[in-house]
């Protein structure tokens, strides 16, 4: 332990503690900007500067280790002035168009400027030009970038892709795509982790909200909405709701308040995915030598992009089953159009996703098979739907709760947990057990795959009726790479592997509401497990709507029709 004083307050902290952490433990707030624990400790923004007695310079609290006898002042005039000028320098290169920025009210730079009582910037404004092609699902405003390096580090350290790079020197240094090349040429998975780690509005998803409003206002269009599992764990954050206010049923009411015609649940098609993907897995397992093994899940488009870009040799290993989003679209524009008795062309299918890569996925020709435009016409992230909800000026908190529409609004607990890492695997195992043994396991029997590994992956070997199944679960593309490399080196062998591009799975998705400095994947994932537990149905194969779909339309899993609408040829889907 070392003893020091911060602002005349004596405290003891373990050796190696930074001044920032020490101050925090004593309830003293030191403003920070670029700092992200363990992810971005670059001490570049020089905002957290503090005065240390005996030192002729100010020191960055985030990167200075507390030493015995240190006397620290976090709020001295010197420190305040320096902080203020450094922030003003940042603002001189920032477009400061707060009223029209999606991060307004949730921006660390804005907060900092407010907290430091900055009401003017004495330096001439010099704003970098925006040259980004805003048609990409992922957009970047050079005019807002503060060069904190977080995007670089999260992409490099967590996702192992290194799409972003700091190029050039001095005032000319800027964050660019790799060698300054066009973004579409970069090996970007579109996971959106750089967006959720950006302290300002420099990295954002493409805003598609107007498209939905146009569709709602078009009398010829029937707007059909699907809501991904992970959205329900986070949507309330965009409105500052408490847990009690942000219930699933109130979410349904809120989305209906937007004016969409039908609010359905992606859980329905997640159950359908389990039926198809689970059957595919059993088919692959029981016909050794006929199919490439192990089989990888393919419901995460970030992961699919990663696999196709970085490990093209793995493409035949990807499950041919489409993602729940795309299955839903295919069903909505065929089966459901028939149920409604309308021309599928009139159906406008919108999905609300915790994900930026889904915006890309819905545009891929190889996953559009219903023959009525795109199967999913557009995708909104959780953040975008939050913005839309604010814009309708309805007191959502006091809306009475409502149910999903039927029949595509029925989902099981197995589907809800798709939103957390390990969820797809657990749901698949629940049904695979049933398919192999003919009876249900305990719904919580496969809990071992839950939870996030920071570095590495979860693996387990199961025995079901004498069949040995070796499974692995990884979230975060850096972990995916570790797993694949270990597979390639022959160190490990698996039969079935679930991979999610975002750490913690969709709960921590790149389209989820942002709370700067907090990793919320775990907390949001927990909410999903609670929902699973509360639901009466916890097995995909018991979803009555899915069973009815097979009975009336799809026939059975892996049928000809299912292959046509619910599967894709992974080798033809190229980037």
């Amino acid at each position: 332990m070392v003893s020091l004083t911060i602002n005349h307050q004596s405290l003891q902290v373990p050796e190696g503690t930074t001044i920032l952490e020490a101050a925090k433990s004593a309830g003293i707030v030191i403003p920070t900007l670029c700092y992200l624990k363990e992810l971005n400790e670059v001490a570049a923004c020089r905002v957290c500067m503090v005065e240390i007695e005996g030192s002729n310079r100010l020191m960055p609290a985030c990167d200075t280790v507390a030493q015995e006898g240190m006397v620290v002042f976090t709020n001295s005039r010197r420190a305040r002035e320096a902080r203020k000028i450094n922030t003003q320098l940042l603002l001189s290169r920032h477009d400061c168009q707060c009223p029209t920025c999606v991060r307004s009210g949730n921006c660390s730079l804005q907060d900092l400027a407010h907290d430091l009582n900055i009401i003017e910037v004495p330096f001439e404004k010099q704003i970098p030009k925006n040259t980004w092609n805003m048609d990409h699902p992922l957009n970047r405003y050079a005019s807002k970038c503060i060069r904190c390096l977080r995007c670089i580090n999260v992409c490099e350290k967590v996702q192992s892709l290194g799409v972003w790079a700091l190029n050039g020197t001095g005032e000319y240094n800027k964050i660019e795509v790799k060698d300054g090349a066009d973004f579409s040429a970069a090996h970007c998975a579109l996971c959106g982790q750089c967006i959720t780690h950006c302290p300002v509005g420099a990295l954002v998803e493409r805003d598609d909200t107007q498209q939905l409003l146009d569709a709602i206002d078009d009398p010829d269009k029937i707007t059909v909405m699907q809501v991904a599992p992970a959205v329900r764990a986070a949507w309330g954050d965009t409105l500052g709701f408490t847990k009690e206010q942000a219930t699933v049923k109130r979410m349904v009411a809120a989305f209906r308040a937007l004016g969409v015609d039908y609010v359905f649940d992606t859980n329905f098609s997640a159950d359908l995915t389990i039926m198809e993907e689970g059957s595919e897995f059993i088919e692959r397992m029981t016909h050794p030598g006929e199919y490439p093994m192990p089989m990888f899940t393919s419901c995460c488009p970030g992961w699919v992009r990663f696999a196709k870009l970085e490990y093209p040799e793995l493409v035949p290993h990807l499950s041919t089953a489409k993602s729940p989003q795309q299955m839903f679209g295919a069903v909505a524009k065929t089966y459901y159009a028939q149920l409604l008795g309308v021309d599928p062309e009139r159906i406008f299918c919108v999905s609300v996703m915790p994900c930026t890569a889904k915006k890309y996925e819905c545009s891929v020709p190889e996953v559009n098979d219903a023959g009525a435009g795109r199967d999913v016409d557009m995708v909104l992230t959780t953040r975008e739907i939050g913005r839309l909800l604010r814009s309708v000026h309805v007191d959502i908190a006091s809306l009475p709760e409502e149910e999903f529409d039927q029949p595509l609004g029925i989902g099981t607990g197995a589907a809800v947990i798709f939103g957390a890492t390990g969820g797809v695997m657990e749901a698949a195992l629940r049904s695979a057990y049933y398919l192999i043994t003919g009876k249900n396991p305990d719904a919580d029997a496969f809990q071992a795959v839950r939870g996030q590994e920071v570095k590495g992956w979860k693996a387990k070997t199961l025995e079901i009726n004498g069949i040995t199944v070796r499974i692995a679960v990884a979230s975060g593309l850096g972990n995916a790479r570790r797993l694949i490399e270990a597979l390639k080196r022959g160190e490990v062998q698996y039969d079935f592997i679930e991979i999610m591009a975002c750490p913690g799975g969709c709960a921590g998705g790149g389209g989820q509401p942002i709370q700067d400095g907090c990793e919320l994947a775990g907390e949001r994932g927990e909410k999903l497990y609670v929902l699973d537990k509360e639901l009466p149905l916890r097995f995909s194969h018991e979803n009555p709507a899915v069973l009815k779909l097979y009975e009336d339309f799809m026939e059975k899993p892996l049928s000809h029709k299912a292959h046509q609408l619910l599967h894709t040829d992974q080798t033809k889907w190229r980037l």
Binding site: G162, N167, G168, T169, K178, G180
Partner: protein, 180 residues
């Protein structure tokens, strides 16, 4: 002032000046053999980049990929390194890279005049390359030859002539290099 033959001979004989671009980096070029000697060297990427610069006078895009593989770095990292140092460039350069020093001691001795003369003679501005691909002209910081200010270098070889003759010397020297 007569033409200084000794100076020209020295410049033309300099190994660094002779380090002219003899290779044209193209799409199909394999850069691995050039990189190989530095692959096992810890931190050898800087030396490998120097080797590429000597051979091609720039870092071709494909070489970045080869470097990334050889040193187990991402391409973004390699580019980040290459773009940090002013002696590395991913832009094609001429056979003779002329750098005019603009640091204080040379600045005081009319480095601007030297640059203007070179710009006039070559018909390009600082930062550009002549159309025939022979010359690239740029500013540089102190090259450590201040006693001879103003100084410029040709492929890193300092040209340290008495300052009052540069106006006569430069056209002749350039002509010699052009024919070389």
């Amino acid at each position: 002032m007569p033409f200084d033959h000794f100076l020209t001979r020295r410049i033309l004989k300099s190994t660094y000046v002779c380090e002219v671009k003899i290779l044209a980096g193209e799409a199909g070029t394999d850069y691995k053999p050039l990189i190989e000697p530095y692959r096992q060297m810890r931190g050898g990427i800087i030396e490998a980049l120097h080797a590429l610069m000597r051979a091609y006078h720039f870092i071709p895009p494909k070489a970045l990929k080869d470097l990334a593989k050889a040193f187990r770095m991402t391409e973004a990292e390699v580019y980040g390194v290459a773009s940090f140092y002013s002696y590395f460039t991913t832009k094609e350069q001429g056979a003779y890279v002329i750098r005019v020093c603009r640091s204080a001691p040379c600045h005081l001795e009319n480095a601007q005049g030297v640059m203007e003369l070179l710009e006039k003679e070559l018909g390009i501005h600082a930062g550009q390359t002549t159309e025939d691909g022979k010359f690239t002209l740029e500013w540089t910081e102190c090259v450590g030859q201040c006693a001879h200010a103003p100084v410029y270098t040709i492929n890193r070889e300092p040209v340290t002539e008495p300052k009052n003759v540069f106006s006569e010397q430069i056209p002749l020297l350039l002509e010699q290099l052009r024919q070389n």
